[in-house]
Symmetry: C2
Subunit: 373 residues, 2 copies
Amino acid sequence: MITKPLAMLFAATFTSLACLAQGNQPAIVEDFKPSSLNQPGQEYPQVNSQGYARFKIKAPKADSVRVSLGLGGRGGTILTKGEDGFWTGTTAGPMDEGFHYYNVTIDGGKFNDPGALNFYGSVRWESGIEIPAHDQDFYALKDVPHGNVQQILFPSKSTNTSRRAFVYTPPGYEKEKSKKYPVLYLQHGWGEDETAWSNQGHANLIMDNLIAEGKIKPFIIVMTYGMTNEVKFGKIREFKIDPFQTVMVDELIPYVDANFRTLSNRDNRAMAGLSMGGMETKMITLNKPEVFGYYGLLSGGVYAPEDFKDKTKPKLVFISCGSKERPDGVKKSADDLKAAGYNAVSYVSDKTAHEFQTWRRSLHELAPLLFKN
Amino acid sequence: MITKPLAMLFAATFTSLACLAQGNQPAIVEDFKPSSLNQPGQEYPQVNSQGYARFKIKAPKADSVRVSLGLGGRGGTILTKGEDGFWTGTTAGPMDEGFHYYNVTIDGGKFNDPGALNFYGSVRWESGIEIPAHDQDFYALKDVPHGNVQQILFPSKSTNTSRRAFVYTPPGYEKEKSKKYPVLYLQHGWGEDETAWSNQGHANLIMDNLIAEGKIKPFIIVMTYGMTNEVKFGKIREFKIDPFQTVMVDELIPYVDANFRTLSNRDNRAMAGLSMGGMETKMITLNKPEVFGYYGLLSGGVYAPEDFKDKTKPKLVFISCGSKERPDGVKKSADDLKAAGYNAVSYVSDKTAHEFQTWRRSLHELAPLLFKN
């Protein structure tokens, strides 16, 4: 099912994780503050107004401490030991805006920064740091009505277990007891899990804010684990969609429709995903065009007009990526689809790579386009 | 408000964290398996059928690696380096059944075990390990109807922010659209947060299983963050309940009653907490006897008959701890209360200390006693 260019896209973009912003480096401004993703009370890591990150980690008897973040494939940031037993260091340049995963190598072993919160990525819980973005307001926690994010455990005969998903219900869901809502099924990327869109992505806050501003029709979001069959990094071409498609279409959707107040038809159901989740979205929407009316690929490949074998056109195809990925391919895909009579929209996130700032922005762009029946 | 014996109880019991089970040590049985709390795909840490824990951590250039778990105050488990660059070691004896927090000291710095999931305790995200318990069935994930655990963000004027709580709604809550439910407000301990009762405690699975067995009347559980004012370890006598009492009684309860289908009177509202959460429960229930009808202190102090100034007696007072804590005080408290005409129940968890196995069992004992109006 997976096309060669798509598989190569993943291989290419994964390596751009945590790359530095481009350009000449100005003098470092000493206005560092604790990252918003630090553990309670922790002073480090810190970030400054230019986007530099500074680390401080205690390991008095260590011989070497290195942070994976800061220099892309070129070894990260090497920390130096002070007389107090703390290792410190600052990235060689400003980081891209938004969220970055990282880890710390202490004497050859890979650990997390004790100062930072952890986020599931790369098939492990990694340290996370947030470089404040100029547009961070759209995912900020504000004094507006908040929806809930709830963990559900749904029965899955095909995998013989109870599987977990998180369900965002918009503000007012509990009070408006007879109202029914459309549903977006939203998938994480390779090595992440069903916690990613809430924890790293702030999907719930993006929705709360858009709803408070009257910019979208409230809808439900369902996020579940997409690595149903094990897929090793670099082996994504061997990925088979069938096990996950069964969980999604035959088990999760019926459970959500039975247990939440959903509008349970194609025109009120969307699927979108980031990176590998986009690949899954493409496969499942093309296999099951009767199930989903809106499709979104966020840094997760493209559709070509000839992909659509079904005579019923999707209501919307949304394709996005960061400007540091392959924006030309994304734009061309939407142009080709539009020329062929499809409702297609492309979005390119400015100055971001294959990282969550791209996907936060993509969700923010996608949400107002959904369920415009 | 806090009485001297209670403060001392906390000081005494905190030091017993992660203590070894008593008795002569038999030969180690080589049937080690990965802990159920490992990160996906991780082989270590492992536990065997006797309750020994074995660790394996990569740090090829480190000079010393020590795990905090295994010898109580006596330095934990010292790992030794193999030729492959991995440090390994086994606890000197079997651990108590259930959940334990731990961390790893690498060359003098405190980190987490890269193999284990993290759990918030001691005001940091710590590594966690699970020693299978003979009675683990009552909190196992089974093929029964599952309730949901949902994150809510409720407005708090007194702290000028949106605060987080988790709400367990029982199976069927979404479908039975007119049914109203009693509510248990359930608090974590010092250094933990609102994630503890679900993550470490499996409160949702304990409820799902009790409901499936027909042993309890379904109710809602609300869990929020109780360290509203900063309280340093060892300074618990300086704790002031007022800020948290305001959040709980004036902000959280009205929000929950407005947004969930609750039975919103005293006889359908309980408060319980573990350790510091028990201290909070005692203070708030005595200050606000008109708000709560059922009180539970889990390793969190005791009530004396003279504590109750209000003429309306609580419907139930539940007091528990582990057998390795101070069971005599717990039993005496319940006896004294019963002699004074109160409905009091004590419970002592066999062969456990000031740890989550005591509290899982305590919730399992408490739940069937609640809301028997």
